[in-house]
Chain length 190, copies 2
Amino acid sequence: MARNKAFDPEERLAKARDLFWEKGYNATSMQDLVDEMQLNRASIYDTYGDKYALFQQCLQNYAKEKLFDYKQCCDKVSPMTAVESIVRRAVTNKKEGKTCLMVKTSFELASMDDGIKMIVREQAKASISVLQELLEKAKQMNEIPAEKDPATLAQFLYASFSSLWMMDVLFGDKEMLERMADHILDSIRH
Amino acid sequence: MARNKAFDPEERLAKARDLFWEKGYNATSMQDLVDEMQLNRASIYDTYGDKYALFQQCLQNYAKEKLFDYKQCCDKVSPMTAVESIVRRAVTNKKEGKTCLMVKTSFELASMDDGIKMIVREQAKASISVLQELLEKAKQMNEIPAEKDPATLAQFLYASFSSLWMMDVLFGDKEMLERMADHILDSIRH
DNA sequence: AGAATTCCAGAACATTCGTTCTAAAATAAT
DNA sequence: ATTATTTTAGAACGAATGTTCTGGAATTCT
């Protein structure tokens, strides 16, 4: 009866996500999205809804990929090695100088918009859970001191990504970031 | 010959700063500023220039106050106590849930706009210098271990403000922030 | 008093914004 | 072939954007 969609919604969503990721929500116009997604205006509205709804889906998409990344680090290695690789990845994996979308969004929108805050907070909770689980295992294996609290450490670790990204934006000095990452990991182990 | 200005430019600049601080640059319209500063449009353009120039002046104003705050903590007490009070102040001094303007701006504009990045980076450098000086004194007084590098610690400390503010935005849990601050300070001392 | 400057209120400007709509071409199933 | 739906390009919309301008009232100096 009907014509099929000529594009892959997930793939085009990724393009929108990358653009929001680069420019932020407010600085990205609908025209920018039309150009970048290579879709007609109407197709965007039909498929994703308005700009706000589109952004929410981008956030969800980003959260899913990010969490998948985290969990991928957890297998095959000792818990502390997993934690270390997650932190190192934050320093190394810089997609062309793009700051983490979740961190960016936390500061641009989450303080004013409860809908957005909820999405970002849930992603944060999930990430912190992964880290906490790793740290609890590490504690059992005496890889971190007995007096440390895995929950607090996990929160601190997750929050530290914001630190690393801010310093990356301001100074773009990779060695500085590595020294900071060293300190962050040392603070967990000792 | 001429009429005097009927308002105090510094005082009205502070109002603009507070509004940018709350909403961010892009989400603040010129109309918002007219309402908040209680000034005529023309008076704003005559006194401060356009929106971008006004924002730059707000940033400078904020930087100056922030640095003054930091230096105020340095007198009369031991260097480590000064560092501690600066960190604690970041947790306690939350102006009605407003995230640090420098951190906010780092993520909203600094990655795209070099003019803004320069202002934020200079403020960061100045703050880090203050911290570094304190940490060097603390090291001489054996308040921190000999193997630690004050420069790296100062960078880490400054960056940690971004951590604390992000978690404040997302969770608004004061006790969580205090536990994180404890860990941050412990990581310096041991 | 008179000249100079700044104030205010608001109109006016051209852009840009997000969004909706029109209309024709393309494709898929019946 | 017919029907149904999605595609495309682009026009159109009202609202909001940043900015400039007009005009007149208010104030300060000589």
